[in-house]
Point group: C2
């Protein structure tokens, strides 16, 4: 029986999207200013469009190639359905479309914010945050809409809209993984390519403009200025959006996969008011509720006082944010109680089946919300102006660039201490409450406020751009003062947003990792097996090499930009006097082309390694389960090392940035006030140069690397295991309470047992052990034909599980 609850998330997502459209048209109706302001804004908008178009062309090629490969796989591997290709394409398109909405609204909102700031700070906040809201709801709405719609479609295609068994549901969710893979692939382009773009343009513009030509930042005579401003949107808006879009979808998907296994642990079927799929629907319902909650949260963000300062603006954002988190907690409580059976059974390693109440699942969601809130504070402590770590870096700047760099590196490294303890505690606690389903739901609850987080996050670069436009169009100082207040708050939210993104990537990867293990049906990942340990090492190395490649990519792309800017200064007459017009578009084109070219190698590394690990040993005839375990070791290595390097690089980069910024207001070093232009400041500028690719390119890329690695594993999983060769015929022939499984808890088919009897197959069933599934007290060995086994099982009481030990010879 199908429940109407399944349509609830779609309805809420549509509501969110409608609100988004209303908000968008409101923003677009605002005054976009005049003459020069409009001109500059148009340049940025066109540059952003140019990047998007170039990116889409490359994306199209990528999507076509991967689609063809997936299609081939789906025809060769019987357990993979061709619909995964459709899901993949839509995942990519939805993510790209969400990014498109975000980029467009951000580049339209900036100038309107500047215009509003001419008269009113409250209005400027309303508009800039309105733009952020459009972005946030676009991402969250499309993510939930796409994922839910495809779930419903596949649920009908494979199961005719009615619960049959966990095997069929596994097929549904495996196919749905294509949507997530599509979304995360786009994130690779947007986050890594965008990260390279923004820093290449930034460094290129500074190196020739500021250093060689001696003109100030954001000077319209610099041909790379527009590319620089476009970069802010490409990296901070589109990149962050695609990153969280991917996390959002992957988290919900992983929670659904684990929900399916909760049903399996409970005997293969439950009866509830939701067609027996309550645990699977719950993460979608939380995501749907999160959209409406975010709408409410964004409505609360406003100030009234035209003379407000940073504290009030920050306060307004905080009210919205904390209200959202509180409301998500409340709705998690309601939904867990409403949608889950009062007690569930979950299989814990080494403990067997454990009874878990729905309240414990709720506690797991609280863990997720706690992590989301605390990680932001941790990030803020290590990167915030006026905090101890920053003051220490400032002090160390007085003895030169070397000591500044060492202090910054050390700060980033030490910041892994509280962050990792927080994550480790969260894994432990959410698992203790409700197993890996609890871990995945903790992630889902944290991600429920994605729309709100993105709104707060996108508001930063919009305000930054608004300030740039005010500067370039020579507004009165009060305008810049107002946008500076917004910008300053935006800097803080940018740092905390990065913390949120890492936390989301970490929890998402763990949830995917857990889903992978259950998908493949392996016993676990035992790093005492040398090949698995070897892959743990290799996995740990990949984020380090990826980071290096990303950093080098920035260097190379920046050098191309430098040469183009030099060429224009040389070849365009009157450019320095302001009479010749710089060719902005050429710089935009170079940054676009270089960034997309340079992301190829790290991208290849990300996608190639898991494929080599999975298919390389397969060519040598290695056991699939052993390969699955090795790949799991690789995934764990990438996740652990990737999270560490993400925290290290983001926080070190953020700390150097703010150490440099500290000099703007003046800092006290050894009892003397020191300002911009001092030797200490120059040392801090060097630190910031190192920190730029750390915090804007390689650091944030780690999120994508770890998620994409785990997703690729999940998509490969059906090839490695999780099904026997002949599909799932068995489950319909023996009642679902008495599924015959092999030692990996895989359903054993009639064909497999028949092979045992006549001895024709490579795979031979050697022993059949009958147990009650919890303790091995009822174990007995049984040999016989399929019919005999079936009869034996039918004769036994309820709750008995038959395990077939299959020995591959």
């Amino acid at each position: 029986m199908e429940s109407m609850m399944i349509y609830m998330p779609i309805a809420l997502a549509l509501l969110g999207l409608i609100y988004m459209l209303v908000k968008k048209s409101w923003v677009m109706k605002q005054d976009a200013g005049d003459g020069k302001m409009k001109e500059i804004s148009d340049h940025i908008y066109e540059g952003a469009l140019a990047f998007l178009n170039a990116e889409y062309r490359l994306l199209a090629v990528f999507v076509i190639i991967v689609s063809v490969l997936l299609a081939i796989v789906s025809f060769v591997v019987p357990t993979t359905h061709w619909l995964i290709v459709v899901a993949f394409i839509f995942g990519a398109v939805f993510s790209a479309f969400a990014g498109n909405i975000g980029m467009k609204i951000a580049t339209k909102t900036n100038v309107r914010t500047t215009q509003a700031a001419r008269t009113s700070l409250p209005n400027a906040l309303k508009i800039s945050f309105g733009g952020g809201t459009v972005m946030g709801l676009g991402v969250a709405g499309l993510a939930v809409l796409g994922l839910t719609a495809f779930f419903i479609i596949f649920f009908h295609v494979f199961m005719e809209g009615t619960w049959t068994n966990t095997m069929d549901m596994t097929i549904v969710l495996e196919t749905l993984a294509g949507f997530s893979l599509g979304a995360e692939s786009i994130a690779l382009f947007a986050r890594v390519g965008g990260g390279i773009y923004t820093k290449a343009a930034d460094v290129g513009a500074d190196l020739v403009g500021k250093v060689e030509a001696g003109i100030p930042e954001d000077d319209p005579r610099n041909p790379a200025t527009i590319a620089d401003n476009v970069g802010d949107n490409v990296g901070d808006v589109a990149g962050m959006g695609a990153d969280l879009f991917g996390s959002y979808v992957a988290t919900v998907l992983a929670a659904m996969v684990l929900g399916n296994y909760v049903i399996k642990d409970m005997g293969g079927a439950i009866s509830d008011a939701f067609g027996g799929i309550g645990p699977i629907l719950l993460p979608m319902a939380i995501a749907g509720a999160g959209i409406i909650i975010s709408v409410i949260g964004t409505m609360l963000v406003k100030i009234k006082n035209n003379d407000a300062k940073e504290a009030q603006v920050m306060g307004a954002l905080n009210i919205g944010n904390w209200t959202s988190i509180a409301l998500v907690a409340a709705s998690c409580f309601g939904l867990c109680i409403y949608m889950l059976p009062e007690t569930m059974k979950m299989n814990f390693f080494g403990e067997g089946l454990v009874e878990i109440s729905s309240m414990r699942v709720f506690y797991a969601t609280l863990v997720g919300l706690f992590v989301g809130a605390v990680i932001s504070s941790v990030t803020e402590y290590y990167t915030g102006l006026g905090k101890k770590p920053i003051l220490n870096i400032v002090q160390q700047s007085s003895t030169g660039a070397g000591t500044n760099i060492i202090a910054g590196l050390a700060t980033g490294m030490i910041s892994t201490f509280p962050s990792v303890l927080l994550f480790a505690g969260a894994i432990w606690a959410s698992y203790a409450f409700a197993g890996f389903y609890g871990v995945a739901l903790a992630a889902s609850a944290m991600m429920a406020t994605t729309a709100m987080q993105l709104a707060i996050d996108a508001f930063g670069p919009i305000s930054d751009n608004a300030g740039g436009i005010a500067e370039m169009s020579e507004q009165e100082p009060i305008v810049r003062e107002r946008t500076d207040i917004l910008d300053s708050v935006g800097n803080t939210t940018a740092a905390t947003g990065k913390g949120f993104a890492i936390a989301s990537a970490a929890l998402t990867s763990l949830a995917l990792f857990a889903a992978y293990v259950t998908f493949t049906g392996i016993d676990g990942i035992n790093i005492f097996k040398a090949p698995v340990l070897a892959m743990l090492f290799v996995g740990g190395m990949v984020p380090v090499v990826f980071s290096a490649l990303a950093m080098n990519a920035v260097g190379k792309a920046a050098m191309e930009m430098v040469e183009e800017v030099r060429r224009q200064f040389r070849d365009i007459p009157g450019i320095m006097e302001g009479t010749g017009k710089p060719e902005y578009d050429k710089c935009v084109a170079i940054s676009t082309k270089a960034s997309l070219k340079e992301m190829m190698l790290p991208g290849l590394l990300t996608i190639g390694f898991p494929l080599v690990i999975a298919f390389g040993p397969m060519l040598f005839g290695m056991n699939h389960m052993a390969i699955a375990e090795m790949l799991g070791g690789y995934m764990a290595g990438v996740t652990v090392s990737g999270v560490l390097w993400a925290i290290f690089q983001n926080n070190a980069g953020g700390a150097w940035d703010n150490a440099k910024k500290s000099f703007e207001a003046g800092v006290e070093i050894n009892g003397e006030m020191t300002y911009k232009g001092s030797d200490a400041h120059k040392a801090a500028v060097t630190g910031d140069t190192v920190g730029d690719p750390f915090k804007d390119t390689s650091g944030p890329s780690m999120n994508i690397l770890i998620k994409l690695t785990c997703l690729i594993g999940l998509v490969i999983a059906p090839i490695l295991g999780g099904h026997t060769e002949d599909g799932m015929a068995m489950t319909n022939e023996i009642s679902v309470e008495k599924i015959i499984t092999d030692e990996h808890n895989q359903v054993i088919t009639k064909a497999a047992i028949e092979k045992y009897v006549d001895g024709s197959a490579k795979a031979t069933v050697k022993t059949v052990t009958i147990t009650d599934g919890i303790e091995d007290t009822k174990s007995e060995i049984f040999k016989g034909s399929f019919e005999e086994v079936k009869k034996k099982v039918d004769d036994l009481g309820d709750g008995v599980i038959v395990k077939v030990k299959e020995v591959i010879e």
Copy 2:
């Protein structure tokens, strides 16, 4: 029956030590020069002694505290014997004594090398390398002597010199682990403390001397000059020696532990010409052979031509090194064939017992020798003068310190790629050849040339010091030219030596990790269990935080030095004119005190974390096996992350150093020759400042961190598992072929089974499954009293293993 073979390693170690004494007296008989040379040399010698004495005082306190703790543990925990305390103290004393020999000979050899260089380069090489040889043989000889002697003593104490069973041998080896723990604890002081010392003195001397006072490096007017020169010996000689002493002992110990489990897998006893302990004696025999081989190798290092250049000196070292490696390979072949049964049975996860020939064990040792040789080339490529990565950093220096830093970081990061693939391949291959016994023997074979490696390694800082003495005592230019040739070769060997030290630490940790798993008797380490995964994260974080603490420690210690030097310049009249004598000893004292103080926090982190993980959950009554698995996850996290950060930091630091050195001979940047003093050179100097603590403090400390972590785990292991409460009564009552074990392959005692019968205990035996140990075809459930089980077992055929599933309720 005891074999004479057990005394062979002791005899060889004594031979090596005798040769060492002969060599030492030869070196000491060489002309130590006159007047000023002798004076400078004496200052360095006294400074080194001052550091050693201060270190020994602190060490004594540390050793007493740990001994008392260990003694308490050994009285509380019945499975831990008090002799472990004795072993611990001797391990610490032997290691400290080896360091003492090395430091003394190094500080005596330097001036003799300078004196010899006045007339003959071949003689200078002979003396400097002779000093290195004394150091190398002192370390290797004492390591083998101590380990073998204690093994023989414990073998007699616990087993009366005759094989009884694997349980008794486990007790012997667990007690022997105390020796290894003692050695590695000293390494913590020597490597971490020494690393802080050398850089604090270096930075302090440069900052005030070169920058503030404007006097050249190594100027005798600088009060910190002697501390700086002492630092070279403390860090590069004593630190490296203690590091390799620890690796050497730990590797052989781990291989012995795993050899014991080979015997267990073969049914609990083998009969061979070595009293049935051939697989346990083999690693000691290889180590013993390695000492004599190293003596032969060092004899081959000589040149004849007084006008020889770097290439010939390097060639002479290479001949010695490669000959040693080839001879070790040959002796491994002979010893494996001679000492091992022709075929052995080893338990492979998921595959059961596999037959392994002794030739396959030999192949595993070849893997180790291959890794030792190749890792040096990899290190040399990424840090060598004139190689592509260095040239790239030089190019990037032209655009400032920021790009230089980025290029150096990226080089270090990318260098993890080939290194980790090499390690991962080595783990895989040696495991595939001969299980974890193969991994441990690969490490043992690699470490067999330790004496030779140390001789090559210690020769570097000796030549460096010799050059410094030539400069300070104003010798003719030809003297400095000759020492420069030696110094230049020494720089290369220093870099490759660091590669060897990392490789040895990595393989040693893996061997210890494997020994830990077998000691505790856990099934493996399943990172799909959330608490284990959480600990993998925490373990991954520790090396990062440790590195940051070590880097910060250098900064703090350097600042204390700066203040002292400033004070002396201010307070001592005539110091700048050369009439007032600087108080060298005060600077030495400050560096000593500061380094030992600052190493406390990272040391506490290293020792504290595993203890908290082990004993924290124990207080809450957590299952010991679950704790053992968590601790294993932590150890794996530390090892994987520690190896990565060691490679990254060492190679980045080495690359920056040589990028800076490249400017001395001049480099071509954008078609122009650029030299010292240019802006690009200044940028490279900044890079070197960052790289100094990387390559000399935090990078090498990683070796100690990962080994000590795994050793602490090994020492805790008996507390966590590996024995049941009542010891090993069972094995003497049922013939050794039919040991009754529980699901973790632990021997089950009479008491435990009786508890099942009367139901009085918390631990209840629920099922007794009888299998043939390979495949579960003979499984049957059996319940009965201890006597009944014993009878049942006696009735069954040979090779039958009885598994008791023990359920804790």
